[in-house]
Amino acid sequence: MGMTMTEKILARGAGRDSVRPGDLVLAKVDFAMGHDLTIPPAGKIMREQMGAERIWDPERVAVTQDHFQPAKDAASATLGRLTREFSQQMGIKWYFEVGQGGICHTVLPENGLVLPGELVVGADSHSCTYGALNNFATGIGSTDLACVLALGELWFRVPETLKFVYHNRLREWVEAKDLILYVIGQIGVDGARSKAMEHTGEALRHIDMEARLTMTNMAIEAGAKNGIMEFDEVTKAYLDPRAKRAYQPVTSDPDADYEKVFEFDAAKVELGVAKPMSPDNYAPLSEVAGTRLDQVFIGSCTNSRITDLRRAAAVLEGHKVAPGVRLIITPSSHQVAIQAEKEGLIGTFLAAGAAWTTATCGACLGGHMGVLGEGEVCLSTTNRNFPGRMGHPKAMVYLSNPAVAAASAVTGVISHPSEVLKQMPAEIR
């Protein structure tokens, strides 16, 4: 019996010829990540409780200051300081200071730190993002991270794999975000609980690396352990100028065992949103069009890379944010911000009347720079809209792609982007 990509990576990490779903393995980790909310507890557990003085490999750890940084209050400043001190004391090579990094899940891929065939863990649930680069990547807790930092190993239950095949191509305006929201709507927020989501099919060959990262980013919103994609020329082109280590891509065997295979016709997927208050509350855009908005947020590890900002800017060009609405745009990394500046996108945003912030997780988790009040309605390009995620438990959050978000900021109500822009230029589609 053959193995899936996920099984192969876990088998290699465990030093075994093969593994089967349900096996518990102790596996070597290739790369680990933590941030300002998870490094302080992990560092404390590692040093004070586990009694480790050093980390297993300072070159295979990245730390970002992204969640509550630049510090939103005095307590966050303390977490930032603990994160900084731990990184310095441990000699962590890939430490990203405020103003030089940004959101972990954009920073690691754009710096070529998470590579095909690797076993990656991050103390953040959206660490599953990296799987679009053909690796096994999963979110872990702080005690987990302390274990990895001390030993370079961690226990894993080998997941069953669910295969998602996307036939044909996405239609005009429809983005990877719409596709993954649709899929989560179909299978539910626990539809892939503790399992691997392997995405494949023709539709994926026609979407760029950043759009692929948007899809694997949301694996956790279906409860999955990881999301993973095949290695192809798009992956290779993205990694060629970036990869910091040699790598070995991995493929699923033709006779690999899948728990279930889902098939979708990508050409039939419409523009859509997740309605309040759950990421699986999918609705076609037409059903919610006209919903009045207080805030539009374009940001997060899901949808605020340069391609996302280009599409948002194309929609906003020459328009103004509607009265009574505020538009907040948060790039997902410092590199993304630099590129946006070079391309003149920031000027477009500012002219439209948008607030442009530093790269941070910010409003996505109700941290700072766009937290919602009671009863407010927000359209957001983020990943999760459970009650209270972006602020008050009675705030209403809709999730969408960036072009829909930008268009809706202009009209003041949830709108199809074609109401504002006739056609998305082909080169940034």
């Binding site: 480790a52 977490l79 103390a123 302390a146 001390a150």
Partner: protein, 180 residues
Amino acid sequence: MTLPKVLRGRAWKFGDNIDTDQIIPAKYAIYSLDEKELGKHAMEGVPGRETWASQVGQGDIMVGGSNFGCGSSREIAPVAIRGAGISLVVADSFARIFFRNAINMGYPILQSPQASEAIEDGDELEVDLEQGIIRNFTKGDEYRSDSFPPFMNELLRMGGLVPWVRKQLEERRRTAATRG
């Protein structure tokens, strides 16, 4: 730290898909290193349960529905529940990171669809952790829980991942010393 064999307490019932931002809203992540403070705000994000933490008795038992603890990876979710005084969480099913975090902390959790379905808020419960049996004194029922793989039971018995890592580090040091 070893676990008691039998736990007794009042049941606090919650629904399906209770996510980590409801268990402990992200704004309290600034108290990541303070379990008692986190405990004061546990479940505050669940509509209608804003003042829940102030009503919990030490040792009470939480009963959730399916996919309990979905959402973020923040370990402060089980930490806050423990900080509020809850001795054990029973659920129909757990989201994977919450499950890992609890096991790694040596914090007892049990998966029992039967118990999750039958138990009502306020029921008096007794749980035999070794046997995995949940007794409901209010209803006169008894429920079985799913068994965990041996390694997870070992972690729970040892008190979590911390003592396990300490042991691994000691072995590595010994091996290094022998070689040296």
